[in-house]
Each structure stands twice: as C-alpha cells, then as structure tokens.
Amino acid sequence: MAVKRLGTQTVKFGNPPSIKGFYTIVGPKEGDGPLSKYFDLILADDLWGQESWEKAEIKMQEECIKAAINNGGLTVNDINYLIAGDLLNQIIATGYSARQISIPFFGLYGACSTMTESLSLGAMIVDGGFADNVICSASSHFSTAERQFRFPLEYGNQRKFSSQWTVTGSGATLLASGGNGPYIKYVTTGKIIDAGIKDVNNMGAAMAPAAVDTLLYHFRDIGCKPSDYDLIISGDLGHIGKEIVIDMMKREGYDLRSMYTDAGVEIFDKDTQDTHAGGSGCACSAAVFNGYVLKEIKKGKFNRVLIMSTGALHSTTSVQQGESIPCIAHAVTIDKKRE
C-alpha cells in the first residue's frame, strides 16, 4: 500500500532526507555572470587542461561529486548510491566520471531535468530506508552540447534570440538520512508533456507547459499555494519560458510574480553576456540550485523553496524526422524545517 503518496503525482516523505553537503563547479562565462560569488570553483577555461571538452566535462562532474561528499564530512566509502546524468549520448560524462568513483551507480537521462530527477529518486531511496547517504549530480558543457546537438564551434551561424546558452558546469548534492537540514519534504514527479513545439531554438516555449503541469499538480496534490514558498525556481526555461509560465499559471488562478524565477534567467546577464534567452543544460539548474539556492537557504534568506528542473527529451534524429519536442519537469520541495 503506497502510504506516502499525495494526490496524483506527489510523494510526502515520512523521514525527510537532509541535504548534508553540496558543491558546484562552473566555466568561465558562468563565473562572469551575476551569480559568480555562489559557485565553489570557477574554471579559467573550459578545457581544464584536458584533451577534449568531453574529458573536461567528465573531470568537472567527478571533482564535483568528490567535493560534495567531502563538503558533507564523508568519504566515498560512506556513500550508498550515485544517481547522476548529463546531456551527452549514452551519458558518457557521468559514466566515465562514475568509473573513477566506486559507488553503486544509477545513470539517468532527463536532459536538463536531470538534477531534480536525481534528487527525487535519491530522496525516495533515503526516505524508503534503502540508503543512508546518496550523492545526486548532473553536468553539462557548452562545447560538448553544441557539437552533439547543434553546430561546430567555428561555424558562422547567427543564433536566434530565443536560443539559450548551455551552461558549462556541474552541481552535486549529498543526501543523508540523518542531519540538520535543509530537508527534502515533497517530490512531484512530472509526466511528459508535448506542446507541439518543433523549434529547437525555442526550448523555453517547448518546456513551459510541462513546468506548468507539474506546478499545478504539485499545488493541488499537497493543497498548498505559491505564497507558501519563499522562492519557486525552474531549471532552464529562460526569459521566454519564464514569461509563458507566469502567463499560463495566471490563467489557472495562480500569481507567481512575486516569488518565481528561473535559473536560466539568473545565471547569465542578458545585457552584457549575449546569451539571448538565457542559460540551459543540466548544469543550469544543478549549479544554481546547489550554489545560489542552498547557500541562501543556509544563510536564512529562504526557508522554503520549490526547485524544478525542466528537460526537453528530443534528439537530433527525432527532430530530423519532423517530431515535436516532448518535455518534463520534476519539482522538489526544500524546507529548512523538518516538520
């Protein structure tokens, strides 16, 4: 009997897992952005001394996972599960970084929704009594994403104003069964929503309906409202997607304007960094949640936050075959207090 379920898509934890450690690594551009002081390590260049961008991304995720475990005062041997993913084919950045770290491993593909997907599963595993310590992480890299999904870096194309900039970085969270918080109290798992958008240069618009759907089920399943949160922050809807979410939620009777923003909007400066519609990629939510959000919760600025990574689950093949872009959003409630 599934006693911890609420409503249709939400789960309430009986023993809310504690966030015991966290760490972020980002690339130079992110380090020049408005949130630079929140990131733990800012790389001087995006190759980090490696031979390829893929190897750089692997190193980022590996070092980030180890640092988050260290930040929580534990060692690799204390960790029961590693739950992680990235954007690359066969999630090689994650697989190859996991190769260096001997922890039982679940690899995930949720595109840019990976961070909260891994936190959701990690929290369930801890609350369910299956683990004491779980490390959740995600990474992305501008150059590896460009060469896989879009164009070679030296190609002279013009980016559209609705395009987003893949964040180079990694974020990792250590969840534990005992601890002083902040705690993960609820998880609302998204379902795939396809709004019929085929334009890969407008991911924000493609993902917004999935974000709205998850938010609505979150509020209805729990019986709470937006103002119960100090901050609601989505993963990478960007400027356009953020506007669409505010609009669509308003039509459903929810006013998000005072507490809602998006990590893709916050991580880059729109006017000086030429990133058009904002940041994207797994690391967008991973770095902002583990950097900005958790640090501000610790400092006391926020008590209750809803974090929601959003992902677009297409591939170059599906796009070439004329398919639209199916999307998903996973929401996680983080609360300073356990009860």
């Binding site: 060469r147 164009f151 870096l153 030296e154 002279g156 559209k160 929503i193 019929g196 958008i197 459903e252």
Partner: protein, 148 residues
C-alpha cells in the same frame, strides 16, 4: 491543466519570441556579402590582368576565396564574421569553405578518418550531391533538347 490546444499555443509562442533585428540584419548581410563579392571581383580582375583567360581566372578566384574562408575559420575569425554578417557570410563561397572547415576542425579529436575526413561533409555533402547531381541532369536535359 486543460488539454493544450497545440495550434493556439504555437501562435501564442510566436508572439512571445523577440523579433530578429530585421533591418540591421539585412544591412549587415548586404555589406558583408557585398564586400566579399567585391574582393572576389578584385582578385578576378587582377588575375585577368596577369593574362589568365576568363575561365582559369574564375577557377583561381574560387580557390583563393576558399583559401581565405578556410584560413579565417581556422583562426577563429569566420564565426564572428558570420555572427555579424549572417547570410552575408554564409552565402558566398567563403561560407561554403567555413561549413567544411568548421566540422573538420571540430571532429579532429575523433581521429583523422572518421573525425576530420568524414565530418568535413556534414554540411558540404548536400551541396555536392545537389550541385553535381543537378549538373548531370542539366547536361542530360541539354542533350535531350539540343542534341549533340
């Protein structure tokens, strides 16, 4: 959430996307494209003044512009030209060179056979297929309608 009407949503989204800076883009495309073509004219005139016949001069001009486009791509300059010039950078033959050299450089890390030599043709392949294939059809049609 009520079932999303996809057509309505698409129209709604169109309204949310910031419009391209149409006039600026057209002006820049005109200037950059015009400049590259003028450069080609200059090279063509110069080669003809050296005594080359029209067809050889034209071939050499193509080669010279291809070299220029390749070099600028290698130096990391052509993508900046493309950002400003848009179609003014991608339509001239220098842009064709950029579309071949950029994947060749990009996939060097995957080796010289399946990386460089294979990926060179991701964007150029269609150009060659439709160009050469089209030319054969034109040749055959010429035979059909005009005879030998």
């Amino acid at each position: 959430m009520e079932k999303l009407n996809k057509k309505e949503y698409e129209k709604y989204v169109e309204g949310k996307i910031p419009k391209p800076t149409y006039v600026k883009n057209i002006i820049m495309a005109f200037l950059v494209g015009g400049f590259i073509c003028t450069l080609g004219q200059f090279i063509l005139n110069y080669l003809q003044s050296l005594g080359l016949n029209e067809s050889s001069a034209a071939s050499f001009t193509s080669i010279a512009l291809v070299f220029l486009g390749s070099l600028l791509t290698g130096l990391g300059i052509y993508d900046k030209i493309g950002k400003i010039g848009g179609a003014g950078a991608s339509v001239p033959i220098t842009g064709f060179a950029n579309s071949i050299v950029s994947p060749a450089m990009e996939f060097k890390r995957e080796g010289f056979i399946f990386g460089v030599a294979s990926k060179m043709f991701t964007i150029a392949g269609p150009v060659l297929v439709y160009g050469i294939g089209g030319s054969v059809i034109v040749g055959l049609l010429t035979l059909l309608f005009k005879g030998r």
